[in-house]
Amino acid sequence: MDEVELDKAKATPGLSRRQFLTRTAMGGAGLAGVGLLATPANVIKAATGGGGNFPTHPNWKFTFVNHVTTNPFFVPTTYALQDACSVLKVSYQWTGSTSSNVTNMVDSINTAVSAGVDGIATSIVDPTAFDAPIANALKAGIPVVSYNADAPTPLVNQRMAYIGQDLYASGQAMGDQILKVVKEGLVAIGIATPGQLNIQPRFDGAQAQIKASGLPITVELVNTSASVPNELSIVEAYYLGHTTMKGFYAVDAGSGEGIAETSRKYNFPSKGIHTGGFDLLPVTLTAIKDGFFGFTIDQQPYLQGFYPLVQLFLYKLSGGLMFPCDTSTGLKFVTKSNVGLYLKGKSRFEGSTSKELLIK
């Protein structure tokens, strides 16, 4: 058939009106099919009108751009967006990249600007790539804040505020914890995507704290990859090649989970290997409870959705009087002494359930 096509490609292309209309109709039918798929049910919307004491206002749309949109860490963040939208009677869009692809995130911001959204919140995971898109958004009158990961200092990026954990300080805090239990030897720190601004500052902070102590501790960076299943394999392989290590830590959720599982499998506590990490994946929390993982650091991802949306809303409602401000979402150590609170039941705030529950 294809050879025939080629041979007949030079045939005089006459076409009847009927055939042309048929083709156009087919194209339209296809389009209608696409339209059916993209029905309003798939678009997150909330009712118009005021919420609580607030006056009636348009159904503003806020776009949240994320570097790992389908990562379970941000499930509570999306729940927070739903809750905030429900209270404030606005709507949100959750978009970006599934794999820390900076180009995709930049494209998402540009599309949001073209679409004329009412506010943008984005994680800034690259030192320079977000400067121009955010500047363009601000020029178009769209307020922009960053959350979860921020631009490096001195600040060139023009985002209005950062809402999230102080990443470098959290790394320093982890470094202090490491120094409490490790006095010499090899300490490995796992990181999924080296260089990216959402986690690299933690490693930098921890390394700086350890170096400043003057103790004979060697810190090694372990690139565990952005894929959670891969992270476990890489962590295990690293351990098997460095069984005399004194500490194995993580600066991201996936690496922490991999270390927790490896610790359980090889019984790190019996070998004097100390562990710790970030975020609250169930495997990590259970390992803390069972004594196989030393600590994890909670940065409250729910608040990283709730606060930015509220700040953008207030900026819009007040005509710019309520200017977004830097907000810390906390730095809490979760250890065996307090992990019970996180394990006692499912919680929308941790992402383990979508149900709205009053937790006592």
Partner: protein, 338 residues
């Protein structure tokens, strides 16, 4: 029978209508017509839904979404036509900008640095071609191995760290940092590749190799040369796309591109009418196929579809588009065979 006298005006009018119909037919009768209709229809649909889809800034966004993938698709079309595939183009896309960066950091003049870095892309393609042709490893497997190799190599030489795009002064404007430069390069490459396929001996040789390799060989076509040259071109184009995109974003990331852009390029080629089985293909169709994918991507983001539902809708839309395109293609072939 009309009572109106046969005047020059009436004759001219009739001839004019016939010419217009012929012109419209010549466009609509082409294999790419179906995908063009879908692209136009999508644009109209998103404009109706959003009221502001057709705007200068969004046009730039769509062109930026299209350009790099379209350039890669042009190279991928050559390979698909001659019955092969290159899965490693997305990783060539990631590696070559870093080679350019290292060359400029070593104070190499920009033109030479460009040649060296594009040559790396060509060498990757050459290796892929040689492994496929001389070692008889299926290109799917050969380039899959190259994919992992390049991924590891890029991570190793960069320590996994992203870097700012090379500092090249005003040249960056031409190399992608200006809003329209990337798409202009893509259109230019499209024209060159279309000329290569339709106006040179190489084009029919590629088609012959993909359609009937034995017959092509017996007709005197150098099958190894055709295939290896196609792999080299795919590698060079992938590397160039990576360079352009890096200047556009201002940053080079070892994680950029990868299988995502490779699959989008192949999908664009197939949606545009290139046969996965070889022997038939069109770079114009591939370009339009990538445009359709970019319109879908941009349009759904424009509407406000959130990430979790996004892939469901995008996947469904691609299936619908493909079904429509296949049907339109069958209509066209039926008409041609009448």
């Amino acid at each position: 029978m009309s009572s109106e006298p046969v005047t020059t005006t009436r004759l001219q009018r009739g001839t004019g209508w016939a010419r217009l119909r012929k012109l419209v037919g010549s466009v609509v009768g082409r294999r790419e017509a179906g995908i063009l209709v879908v692209a136009v229809a999508l644009t109209i649909y998103f404009q109706i839904i959003t009221g502001r889809f057709i705007s200068g800034s969004n046009f730039i966004t769509v062109t930026q979404l299209t350009a790099a993938t379209a350039i890669i698709a042009c190279g991928e079309v050559l390979l698909l036509i001659c019955g092969e595939i290159d899965l490693s183009v997305g990783n060539t896309f990631a590696l070559v900008p870093f080679i350019l960066l290292f060359c400029t950091q070593a104070d190499m003049p920009l033109p030479l640095a460009m040649i060296v870095s594009l040559a790396v892309g060509g060498v990757i393609g050459f290796i892929n071609g040689c492994v496929t042709v001389f070692l008889k490893v299926p290109s799917f497997v050969a380039t899959l191995g190259m994919l992992f190799l390049l991924n590891g190599l890029t991570l190793t030489i960069t320590n996994g760290y992203p870097s700012a795009a090379p500092t090249v002064g005003q040249a960056s404007v031409v190399l992608g940092s200006a809003p329209a430069s990337e798409i202009l390069w893509a259109v230019g490459i499209l024209i060159l590749m279309q000329l290569l396929l339709t106006r040179t001996r190489f084009g029919p040789h590629v088609i012959a190799v993909g359609g009937n390799m034995m017959g092509a060989r017996e007709s005197g076509v150098s099958v190894p040369f055709v295939k290896i040259a196609s792999f080299v071109m795919a590698g060079v184009l992938a590397g160039f796309a990576g360079i352009l995109d890096s200047f556009r974003v201002g940053s080079i990331d070892p994680l950029q591109g990868g299988t995502e852009i490779m699959f989008m390029a192949v999908a664009g080629a197939v949606i545009g009418g290139t046969a996965l089985t070889g022997g038939s293909g069109t770079v114009v169709g591939a370009f339009l196929g990538v445009v359709v994918l970019s319109l879908l991507n941009d349009g759904f983001t424009f509407i406000g579809i959130s990430a979790f539902a996004f892939d469901i809708i995008l996947g469904g839309a691609i299936l619908v588009v493909m079904v429509v395109n296949v049907y339109l293609g069958r209509l066209r072939i039926r008409r041609l065979s009448q």
